[in-house]
Symmetry: C2
Subunit: 185 residues, 2 copies
DNA sequence: GACGATACGGAACGACCGTTCCGTTTGTCA
DNA sequence: TGACAAACGGAACGGTCGTTCCGTATCGTC
């Protein structure tokens, strides 16, 4: 690969990351190219399709989140492990519009490429949920799917309400509180 | 207005209601016209723009929800009044994709027409929340905005996860649980 | 039944966007 | 330095979708 080409590839990835983060999948590909200081033709030589570029960005994001679940597997406080992960997840999702588009498969078929990683994420969450259940920190009947939906839904709402991270965290806390085992009142 | 025209107007509204409900704002206008058994030209004589037709549908939906808050204002159990409304809201939103698009202003500027009605809804929720707070059924620090965001976010997530109403209700219940005042553990 | 106004259908227009194509430029290696 | 392969830029293509336009059909009235 020519040195020039390599540099352009970097610039495209960089531009895509920031642009997808703020505008999501719906941003026209020309904008990404312009941001990268590159023609569309060049972009398409590096990534065969918009979807491919998008996947490249999202996969690394998802991977980071999966790692976050793994580092918490052996935490001494399973409740905090789960909840702190969910807060982290929320912060990430609020800042990165593409994460929603990936999980919602909004537009076209992203799932093909990310499905595996999303499943990994789900498995990671499932472990954290299981451990939290074991210490009676969350209700025994909630599922990892529900948890993921609840948090991503909350972030989605926060995002389009234009809320900041702090407000989003507050809502996440409310949801987490709701996941705890009910107490007699 | 000619009899013919009136009938067509009805059919357009009917088709728009079902089509927007299942596919949301993103459905092409041709599909609505076809569903109504009408040409696009006819549709555009009755509604100057796609947005106008959309608003006509959504406004009635929002109005119904506002009414729902009003009938609950004098309920003897403020907690149940709020939570049952939220469940109702969720059911409605899950079944009607357009409600999301309206609240998210996804695509273009819907707000212009619906803003007033959405504010009314927010005010209605605010009253229910206030009354629930008065009897210590919800935390004193939650806001109507947060409640709306939480519920609509939950429904959004449920919708694209393809969940049924029962599963969505379960998630709503979790959120409602989280809104209750924290108890010492 | 005929005539004028009203309404209809759907082809055509224009804007947007993902993708392709090709003439031109640029890096690399001998 | 010269030459060739590799890479570039951006105009052009094709498809989608909201909207407009106009020739035709239909309703309502005299």
């Amino acid at each position: 690969m020519r040195a020039d080409a390599l540099k352009n590839r970097e610039r495209i990835l960089e531009a895509a990351e920031t642009t997808f983060a703020s505008l999501g999948l719906s941003v026209p590909i020309d904008v990404v190219a312009e941001q990268a200081g590159v023609g569309v033709g060049t972009l398409y030589r590096h990534f065969p399709t918009k979807e491919a570029l998008f996947e490249a960005i999202v996969m690394t994001r998802l991977e980071e989140l999966v790692d976050q679940t793994k580092t918490r597997i052996d935490a001494s406080d399973p409740a905090d492990a789960l909840f702190s992960f969910l807060r982290r997840f929320a912060t990430e999702a609020l800042a990165k519009a593409d994460l929603f588009d990936a999980m919602n498969a909004a537009g076209f078929d992203i799932k093909s490429g990310c499905a595996g990683m999303i499943d990994d994420l789900k498995r990671g969450i499932d472990v954290l949920v299981g451990r939290a259940k074991a210490v009676h920190a969350v209700r025994p009947d909630v599922t990892a799917d529900e948890v993921m939906s609840l948090i991503s839904g909350t972030c989605m709402a926060a995002r389009q309400a234009g809320l900041d991270d702090a407000s989003c965290q507050r809502m996440v806390d409310i949801v987490c509180e709701g996941m705890r085992p009910p107490v007699p009142r």
